[in-house]
Subunit: 329 residues, 2 copies
């Protein structure tokens, strides 16, 4: 793989599993169905805000790349998306987020109470479905992953001494919060495969997930917002320590660091303060460092795929790396 990865669309990546992905949505609808009004309404809203099905795509591609032909893979893909949805509903509630994928969150549209209960509803439905599939290994992997994600969420709340938050802690955080579910999706797709292939795909998913999250964190510093034309700097406003800032802090001068400390000490920092720290992070090489790290992880993800036989599915997994690190949203 070259240093500069090519731009690819998610649609291209999904091509080898298009038919299965259509069925994933039907499965999702079936699994979360309820005969209780509030839940039905919330379900319909969630199905409308349905994302790009990146995790089901990874699961189905891994399944195909590892030579699998199990029709249960579609249901497993729906369950993985469902676990992701349950996590989003609780995350938005915990973060008091108003929008998700351009639509109001469950906590905004209904209430905070309903969001908490709804997340529990979705997650317990996922477990019921996994039990019915009679696949203890899939259940084992996904139960572990869900638990890891909760620990990741806790890590996010941590960090009393913001400026001392280091890259190692950040790596642990993004592994737990994001990469674990992507690794789980890839692994669950390949449960019937050779141990070597299964492990390779789990490793691929972990590196991919870390690169994916670093890219997400970079976008917060670089992606111009529609209205202002400037990066949102939302993480900075919420005092979240992510890789661009962590890397930049190590390179700042003794006069620059206090500017960051000041922002972290201000409950509701102004647009000017945020813009100033964003500029400081860029000038100190924080963005370049994070980009470089994402590329390294992308290369590790790519290398993990080497052990698999050549196939359209493996090629699509390869392309998903480019998608993860080159996307603009």
């Amino acid at each position: 793989m070259s240093q500069q990865v090519a731009r690819v669309s998610l649609r291209d990546i999904q091509r080898p599993v298009t038919a299965e992905l259509d069925r994933v949505v039907d499965e999702l609808r079936r699994i979360i169905a309820a005969d209780f009004p509030i839940i039905t309404e919330a379900n319909e809203h969630l199905l409308r805000m349905k994302g790009k099905l990146f995790r089901p795509t990874l699961l189905l591609l891994s399944h195909q790349a590892a030579g699998g032909r199990d029709p249960r893979a579609v249901t497993l893909a729906a369950v993985v998306e469902l676990i992701h949805l349950a996590t989003l509903v609780h995350d938005d509630s915990v973060d008091h987020s108003v929008l998700r994928r351009g639509m109001p969150t469950i906590n905004t549209l209904f209430s905070h109470q309903i969001a908490v209960i709804m997340g529990d509803y979705l997650y317990s439905r996922a477990i019921i479905e996994l039990v019915q599939l009679d696949d203890p290994e899939a259940l084992r992997v996904l139960a572990r992953v869900t638990n890891e994600m909760t620990v990741g969420e806790m890590r996010q709340l941590e960090a009393h001494d913001k400026l001392a938050y280091g890259e190692e802690q950040y790596d642990q955080l993004i592994r737990a919060k994001t990469a674990s579910l992507l690794a789980g999706a890839c692994e669950v797709g390949a449960l019937e495969a050779d141990t070597a292939h299964r492990r390779a795909l789990a490793r691929f998913g972990m590196y991919l997930g870390m690169a994916f999250q670093i890219t997400d964190d970079l976008l917060d510093y670089t992606q111009p917002e529609a209205v202002t034309g400037k990066p949102s700097g939302l993480d900075l406003k919420e005092h979240k320590m992510t890789l661009p800032l962590i890397a930049a802090l190590g390179r700042m001068t003794p006069t620059e660091r206090p500017r960051v400390q000041e922002l972290m000490d201000t409950p509701d920092p102004s647009e000017e303060t945020v813009a100033e720290v964003i500029a400081l992070v860029e000038r100190s090489g924080g963005l370049d460092y994070a980009r470089q790290r994402a590329l390294e992880l992308a290369q590790q993800a790519d290398a993990a795929l080497e052990v698999l036989p050549s196939s359209p599915a493996r090629d699509a997994l390869r392309d998903s790396i480019a998608y993860a690190v080159e996307r603009r949203s």
Copy 2:
């Protein structure tokens, strides 16, 4: 069983399974252990506020009464308590409760965010443990029960037209919210038993759970508070429709019903208004009706035990009925 059940202590009921209950607490500690500071702190707090282990008691007694001798019963009992704990943590967060068992709730002591994540942590730990026990049937029962509990929580939030909320809806609510886990605990204790015994114990747990919840709802109308010497009427303050009020409404005069409607329309009703409605509920026979209903359910629970062979464990289960409907807190 006589109409008037005798007063029994929980300690008496627990006698046949005392040794196992000690180990339940150790198992609980082992299962929730974490190497992350916030979680460890929250765990310690939860272990200190540990309740009376009523659900583990029921599971272990059911196990013994059905002739079981599986050492995994202790772990299953700990898992059932853990699911109960996870539910309490989310309930307290959703209800903004300040105290639980005389101690600050997780949302009060830490934060609302941590309570949501902590509930998810505990529940996913319970699932991991169930997967490790390699007992798909226990997992099936408890996953279903957990999902029912979330639907019960949703039912609790429902009821736009308070005064039209009927006894049938109330029954569905308490089955889902409370009785399902007690039934699940009894059933999981007897998974290896004859189908007839297993079903009988599940039925026993369901009736017991409903009687338990009606008693709880009665206490809100009758139990004098330490400070005021008057019943708290907390459910009324929060506009919760429970059996005493539902039954009383059907017996009120056309001049009395508007008093209740008024309270339901007032966001923060005064102590006087609450006391007045409590008196009205008593005068209209709402308390007597609810007591009678709890006794009927107690008798159904008792009858469900008939099919089991006589044993100290069966006697203790019988006594647990008296405990459930006669307790003062």
